[in-house]
């Protein structure tokens, strides 16, 4: 009898433990896997980045900051950082503005709205690798879009253009917007606008009709309604898009690698491309690891404050 109640007590306690901690138990497997396959390996990469491992044979002897110093002194990496900054800024700007613009257009209940919506969203369904190859030929200065543009007497060099505007001299490089990046930006913005369009359309449909009507009743023009009433309400959505696009742009590899590679004078090179080539082509494992860690820090520097800000706003 006693035994029985004891067993029952254990069962009851187990049950209540499960109930109280169900959320922990459900996420436990992913916590384990994420901690091993993400954080342990980040730690490992960090360790390698301070080592002498710059050939096939693993050599984990401590090398201090040497890999990082060499990296930041190299022309290629300085170019990569410049490209990354301009690419991220313009890419995010382009994607949010285009998405907003198209979402508002589609909201006007034009005929064939579903068709346009699908056309605009379709690129997002394709792989960067596929579109990269296609854009490479579209922007090839001797073929593609230039054949059409030549009729108007212009033939830009697109990604073969090595001009950097305004080209201030900074460390080893010229600082400014590499004109060659514009072709890559057009491709990237074209591809990811579908994402922001979908987000903005969802956002717009969540704004009650009464709010607009009220604004119109109060005598606001259509333009004013959008700029003063509707767009401010889309702010959280913009935050979401910026966050998503930021981590895409900071890590971008496939589109650029297949479209232009490093480009002449490294005008379209990105840290991820340098990392891949350093690690797998040259077997500079420690240097490759150092590039990864720098990329990780860049994502952290930009993304973490953003996430906190978003929390406060929401």
């Amino acid at each position: 009898m006693n035994d029985h109640t004891d067993k029952k007590g254990v069962y009851e306690r187990f049950k209540s433990f499960m109930v109280r901690n169900i959320s922990l138990l459900v996420v436990l497997p992913s916590i384990i896997f994420v901690s091993v396959f993400v954080y342990v390996f980040i730690g490992w990469t960090g360790l390698v980045s301070f080592s002498n491992w710059n050939s096939i044979a693993p050599d984990l002897s401590f090398n201090g900051l040497q890999n990082y110093i060499q990296l930041f002194q190299s022309f290629r990496f300085q170019s990569d950082i410049r490209n990354m900054i301009f690419f991220s800024l313009l890419f995010i700007l382009g994607v949010t503005l285009m998405g907003q613009f198209l979402a508002i257009l589609l909201e006007q209940n034009i005929r064939g709205k579903w068709l346009f919506r699908n056309i605009f969203m379709f690129p997002m369904a394709m792989s960067f690798v596929v579109t990269g190859v296609a854009w490479r030929w579209i922007f090839n200065p001797e073929s593609g879009v230039n054949i059409f543009l030549q009729k108007f007497g212009v033939s830009p060099g697109w990604y073969t253009d090595t001009t950097i505007l305004p080209g201030w001299s900074l460390f080893k490089i010229e600082f400014g917007l590499p004109i060659g990046l514009i072709a890559v930006l057009i491709a990237a913005i074209w591809q990811m606008t579908g994402f922001s369009l979908a987000m903005y359309m969802a956002g717009l449909s969540g704004i009650p009709q009464e709010v607009r009507e009220a604004a119109l009743m109060d005598g606001a023009s259509k333009w004013k309604t959008y700029t003063k009433v509707i767009l401010p309400q889309l702010k959280p959505i913009t935050y979401g898009i910026v966050l998503m696009m930021l981590q895409i742009s900071l890590k971008i590899f496939d589109l650029v690698y297949t479209m232009t590679g490093s480009g002449p004078n490294f005008v379209t090179d990105m840290p991820a491309i340098y990392m891949y080539e350093a690690t797998f082509k040259s077997n500079f494992y420690a240097e490759g690891a150092a590039i990864s860690i720098v990329m990780l820090f860049m994502v952290m520097v930009f993304v973490i404050p953003y996430m906190f800000r978003r929390k406060e706003d929401a």
Partner: protein, 434 residues
């Protein structure tokens, strides 16, 4: 109390999971090997994998021909073609490096002869092939230079499959004939011709350097012309100075060559550049002799539509690019794998492979009378000329040094700053001395 126990045991479980996840590498691969063994026993055939980047056109045909040829001899061994496309071999090398490090090597893999192959030995991933060389009498049929480049401390680690020559100018015969131009012998001739052609609106020199390696090849030609084979290869010992009058003069020649190239060179690959010559838009192309295969695939006739001549000042040099096969440690079914390696070095396999690939056999005892007109002349040159390992072919220098050179060349093509190029070479020199 009991709650704590449950909590403690779940923490323990987590820890155990962590440990097994970390330590599972070896047991996993062992399991997989067991599996493949039992599969082998079941079907009665043994599988061997060959890893390469021979994936396009003639290369893929050549590889398949060898695989089929071996299949006829040894029907119980199935050769699995594990080729990886792209990146000029670097994607395949990425796969190779993770497979070697993970303890799951392919039976045989492709590498470029010399440093590119031997670097794997730094991690003790290669098996010596000395016994195979003795058994098959290969020391007598492969030239010494080719054997030496795959040798460390008397141990040979590679079987050379093919030989390409990459100090060649390929020219459009029609353009040359129409303008009454003879192929250049010196760089003075070359620039004179280039001026004439440019004034007529023809691109003198086609270049496709989306992969900067093809600009590096132009620089290599200028260096070879200036230094000759001996001093050229001495550079790669790491004991020579890069800031010399001769090298500066070579940099200058290289820079002048760039002035005569097509404007969109950075958007093209070498095939696109060869296409400019094939379609009468450009007159010359400096490229390895795989270009002859490209021209023939365009139905151009050798010595009628396209011609060839050694790059200026290098007519006595055969600048070698070579693929060699490596044999990793820890290969399952070693006996069968060695049988396949022996076949790869056989006269039969080398003849068939090279005829399809458009290269010439690394063996010098093969009858090439069935080969293309160009290949026959190249095979003759291979026997008679001074052999030199090509920088752009990756044989004489570590991969890390070569990629630093490529980076420096990529910058130079735009900036044309000789000091910057020479400084970069000097900085990279430490990579040669290891």
């Amino acid at each position: 109390m009991k709650l704590k126990l449950i909590y403690a045991s779940s923490v323990l479980l987590l820890f155990v999971l962590l440990l097994t996840a970390c330590g599972s590498d070896e047991s996993n691969s062992a399991n997989q090997n067991d599996n493949s063994d039992s599969e082998n026993n079941g079907s009665g055939t043994t599988e061997l994998e060959i890893l390469s980047w021979w994936t396009s056109g003639g290369e893929a045909e050549a590889l398949n021909a060898v695989i089929d040829g071996f299949g006829e001899e040894e029907p119980n061994i199935e050769i699995v073609n594990a080729a990886v496309a792209g990146g000029g071999g670097s994607n395949s090398q990425a796969v190779l490096s993770s497979r070697l490090q993970g303890g799951e090597p392919p039976a045989v893999f492709q590498a470029q002869g010399g440093f590119d192959l031997l670097r794997w030995q730094e991690g003790d991933y290669l098996q010596s092939l000395n016994d195979l060389y003795e058994e098959n009498g290969w020391r007598d049929v492969f030239p010494e230079t080719i054997i030496d480049m795959n040798t460390i401390d008397g141990e040979i680690y590679g079987i050379p499959m093919n030989v390409h020559r990459n100090n060649m100018i390929w020219y459009n015969k029609k353009i040359f004939d129409d303008n009454g131009i003879e192929p250049p012998k010196t760089f003075a001739d070359f620039f004179e011709i280039a001026d004439t052609l440019q004034s007529k609106g023809i691109i003198p020199l086609a270049l496709g350097d989306q992969n900067p390696r093809w600009s590096t090849l132009l620089f290599e030609m200028a260096l070879l012309n200036e230094l000759g084979a001996e001093d050229f290869s001495a550079l790669w010992t790491g004991n020579e100075d890069f800031d010399t009058a001769k090298i500066r003069s070579a940099v200058n020649t290289f820079s002048r060559m760039l002035d005569y190239t097509n404007e969109n060179h950075s958007s093209l690959d070498w095939q696109d550049a060869a296409d400019l010559v094939a379609s009468d838009e450009a007159a010359m192309l400096i490229m390895g002799d795989w270009a002859s295969g490209f021209f023939m695939s365009r139905d151009l006739v050798a010595n009628e539509d396209f011609g060839w001549v050694a790059a200026p000042g290098t007519e006595d040099i055969f600048n070698i690019v070579n693929d060699s096969m490596g044999y990793p440690t820890g290969v399952e079914n070693a006996e069968e794998a060695e049988g396949f390696l022996a076949y790869l070095g056989s006269a039969e396999a080398q003849a068939e492979f090279n005829q399809l690939k458009g290269s010439i056999p690394a063996r010098t005892d093969i009858d090439v009378s069935d080969f293309s007109e160009y290949s026959q002349s190249a095979a003759e040159d291979f026997k008679n000329l001074e052999l030199n390992l090509s920088l752009a072919g990756g044989s004489p220098v570590p991969a890390g040094f070569l990629s630093r050179v490529d980076d420096a060349i990529n910058t130079f093509v735009t900036q044309r700053d000789p000091d910057m190029l020479i400084n970069s070479l000097e900085e990279a020199k430490s990579l040669l001395q290891e």
